[in-house]
Symmetry: C3
Subunit: 154 residues, 3 copies
């Protein structure tokens, strides 16, 4: 039974693993800065960047998995990868301001909006299929696959 399930989620699992490794990278950075006690502001900055990333991490995971399960895993995993790249840029470029107005933060918003849209489209498609027996899944998957490429535009 499980191999059927794995077939539909393995890309999501891979993205989740990459995000976990990225979390570990962030945590190592924070730990290393915490041990060098001569630089207080640098630790504050890294710690704040890490907290901002961690705060939105459950939201990102939930939205990516919902989008992947409801519609199709390929565009969801692709959007997830882009989110991770944006998060990396955000973490590296974080300059210690409390106002989160770096480009990375805005980029993350767009990816999350795309994933939320995928969820909504997937659920609407399911409801259409259930009550009107009209299935647009193939069309929708093609459209989302094409639309996910638009995320690459900076």
């Amino acid at each position: 039974m499980l191999s059927i399930v794995v077939e539909h989620i393995f890309l999501l699992v891979i993205v989740t693993l990459i995000s976990v490794l990225q979390n570990a990278f962030f945590a190592t950075k924070v730990e290393r800065e915490g041990k060098e006690h001569n630089n207080k502001t640098a630790f504050e900055r890294v710690s704040c960047a890490n907290r901002n990333c961690m705060d939105s991490y459950p939201t990102f995971l939930a939205v990516m998995w919902c989008a992947g399960l409801c519609l199709n895993q390929a565009p969801a995993a692709f959007a997830g990868i882009i989110y991770l790249v944006a998060r990396q840029k955000y973490f590296v470029g974080y300059m210690g301001q409390t106002s989160q107005s770096t480009p990375g933060y805005l980029f993350g918003k767009r990816v999350l909006a795309f994933l939320i849209l995928m969820c909504i489209v997937g659920i609407f498609n399911f409801l259409l299929l259930r009550y009107f027996s009209s299935d647009y899944k193939d069309t929708l998957e093609m459209i989302t696959n094409a639309a996910s490429a638009l995320l690459l535009i900076p």
Copy 2:
């Protein structure tokens, strides 16, 4: 294959989406307060309320999905909606005290306890079904559906 899965989780996905939109609303509030630098305590309050909500968010998601998968999605999603309403009340009514003794916090506890109970009942039912081949699922679903209405009592 996936449409069978979606049929059993689409209510949970909808609640998750609403919770994500609520998270975005909270984050926007914090960002807006952070930009107005003339009011320091208001930012502290909003930021603390946001952190309290975010800290319990993965717990809530995990419990809701487990309850929905183990027993039935309808009462789990209903309890999730009530939790989100309680969280909204908590966020709005948060007055900056570090002790979390607002009514909203207590309300959240009750909903989580109900969801944990649903998980336990669902697993017990599965184990009964497996080892004694006695299935009480229909009765249990009826009872949990009725019991979830009790969460509306303030």
Copy 3:
């Protein structure tokens, strides 16, 4: 349909429930310390320990569920239990330092690395099965079951 799913995840659900109860225990500790206003440093310590535990909680959940879904739930749930014991030790033994160098933190790292390895092995196995039709799942499950016992070594 759902009882088939529950059969493959019920151990993971049980571990998730235990972790939620542990979270509730941590939150109660923080709340109790917050109400006793005469001891400021104790509250700081407990609050910091709680935040460190909560920060890594979504990561742990994501990795455990992925490992359980991709390969086998029994070793994943076992590793999860060990992680929870390590977290408990970490929380109790946390002495207020910001550098997270207690034994508990290192222990958690090893469990997470084991779970990540399980995910990778599971996905490789799935890809082998798909493209080369060679299934090593039984062998892998036996190896991971044996390997999970190694986590008990302190």
